[in-house]
Symmetry: C2
C-alpha cells in the first residue's frame, strides 16, 4: 500500500496560539508549526479552522495560500465543518505536490463532502459513522458500504476515500480496541485505504504514557493495514515507530540512517 | 491467549560475566541478572549454559537450584544442546511457579527434546526448521506439522509446544519480514502458542536503533498472535511496548500505573 502517511494535526484552532494567529491572520505561528511538522516527516498538514462561521472561506483561502506558498505547495487537508470554506480552500489549492484532502465526510450530515471530493478531484476522509461512535463492526461496515457506494456512484476512485474506523479511547472502551483493529483488517482485505485520529486511544492518560501507547497502537494498526493517521509528527517515538514499521513491511529500504530521513 | 510472556535472555554463557560465573560456579553475577530481569517483568528466565560438554548436568543442576532457591522457584527455560544437562536440570526443577521450558527442539537433530518434554511434562520451544532458515512459509508449516504431530503422538498438549517461526535479520532479509508475521497469524488461527528470538530482527543495526526496531516488531508480531518472546526484559522500550499491547489486546486491565506493574 506504500509508505504510511502522517497527516500532521498541529495546525488546529483548538490551540490558543493557532486560534489567535487565525483570528489576526498572522502567518508566523502557523508557518512555524507547518515547518516543524514537515521537518518531522508529515506527508500532509491538516488545517483545522473550526466552524469559522463568519469568515470561513476567507480564512481557509488565506491559510492554504500562506502555507503552500511558504512550503513549495506542500499538500494539505482542509478541515472544517464549513463547506463553503472547504470550497474556497480548494479553489486556491495548488495540486503540484498532491491532491487536497477534505476532512471529513460521514454517513450522516456530512455525506455531501463526498460529492465535493468527486466534483473537485480531492481525497476525502470518510468516517464510518453517522452520529456518534458505531456500536460494532457490523455498523462500521454498513456505513463503509454506504459511503463507498455513494462515492463510486459519483465516479470517485475508491483509493481517494480514506476510511476512518474511529479510534476509541482506551480509558472507557478498552474492550473495543480489537474491534477497531479487526475492522482495519477488513478494510485492508477490501483493498481500501484507512486513516483516523490515532491519539484518541490514549486520551486522558498521563502525558508520559501517551507516546508509548500511541506507538504500540500504530504498529498494531499498521500491521492490520492502516495506511495513514491524523497524528502529531513531532511525537518522536511515534514517528520512529512508523518509520520502523515501514521498514518491516518492506515499504522503504533499510539504511542505518532511516530514522533521520 | 493471555498476557504476553517474556523469557529473559540475559543469563547466557555468551556473556563473559556469565561464562566466568558458570565456569567458577559463582552465583552472584547470575543472581544479579536474574533479579534485574524478574524486576523488569520477565515471565521466565532462560538459562543458557552453552554446549557444556564436560560438566553440563552438574552445571545445569547448580544453575537451576541456585536461581530457584533465591527467587521463590521462579520458572526457568533450560537452554543447551546437551540433552543430559537438560535432564539433570529437570530432575531438580521445582514446578510450583510454572512448568519448566526446554529450549529447544527442531524438526532435525533436536526432535528428541519433544520426547523429553512429553516424558517430563515440560513445555518445549519448537523451531520450525530442520537445518538452517526455512525458505518460506510452506517449509515452516511443513516443519510445524511434523513437530506438532510428533508431540501429539506422544501425548504432549499442543499448548505446551511453543512454535518459533525463526525471526530473521532485517539487514539482509528485509523482504522476508512479512512472511514471519504471516506465519504467526497462521499459528494464531490454529490456536497455537508462539515464541522466538525477536531481537534477531535488529541484528547488526546501530545500538540506539535496536530497541526502536524490536519494539515496532514486537507490537506487529503480537497483533499477529505472538504469545511470547525470548528477549531482554531490561530493554525498557520493549517492555513498555509489550505492556501497552497487552492493554490494547485487553489481556490486562488498564490503570495509569500499568507500566510500573
Amino acid at each position: 500500500m506504500g509508505k504510511f502517511v502522517v497527516i500532521g494535526e498541529r495546525i488546529h484552532c483548538i490551540s490558543p496560539v493557532i486560534r489567535e494567529a487565525m483570528n489576526s491572520m498572522n502567518p508566523e505561528p502557523i508557518l512555524k508549526r507547518a515547518k516543524e511538522q514537515i521537518d518531522a516527516g508529515a506527508g500532509y498538514l491538516d488545517v483545522n479552522i473550526g466552524p469559522a462561521e463568519s469568515n470561513g472561506p476567507q480564512l481557509m483561502k488565506w491559510a492554504v495560500t500562506t502555507i503552500q506558498s511558504a512550503f513549495d505547495n506542500f499538500p494539505l487537508a482542509l478541515d472544517t465543518a464549513n463547506r463553503a470554506a472547504i470550497e474556497a480552500g480548494l479553489s486556491v489549492y495548488n495540486r503540484s505536490k498532491g491532491k487536497p484532502i477534505i476532512n471529513s465526510a460521514d454517513a450522516g450530515d456530512r455525506i455531501g463532502n463526498i460529492d465535493l471530493a468527486a466534483e473537485s478531484g480531492a481525497i476525502v476522509l470518510t468516517l464510518c459513522s453517522k452520529a456518534g461512535v458505531p456500536a460494532d463492526n457490523d455498523e462500521r461496515m454498513a456505513y463503509l458500504q454506504e459511503l463507498l457506494e455513494h462515492g463510486m456512484s459519483l465516479g470517485l476512485d475508491a483509493e481517494d476515500m480514506w476510511f476512518d474506523p474511529l479510534f476509541l479511547v482506551i480509558k472507557g472502551m478498552q474492550d473495543k480496541q480489537t474491534d477497531v483493529l479487526d475492522f482495519l483488517k477488513m478494510c485492508k482485505d477490501m483493498g481500501l485505504k484507512t486513516t483516523g485520529g490515532l491519539s484518541n486511544v490514549s486520551n486522558g492518560m498521563p502525558k508520559h504514557i501517551r507516546p508509548i501507547m500511541d506507538s504500540a497502537m500504530v504498529a498494531m494498526a499498521i500491521q492490520c493495514g492502516l495506511t495513514s493517521a491524523i497524528a502529531n509528527p513531532c511525537d518522536r517515538r511515534l514517528m520512529e515507530t512508523i518509520k520502523s514499521c515501514d521498514i518491516i513491511m518492506n515499504e522503504t529500504l533499510y539504511a542505518d540512517s532511516y530514522l533521520d530521513i
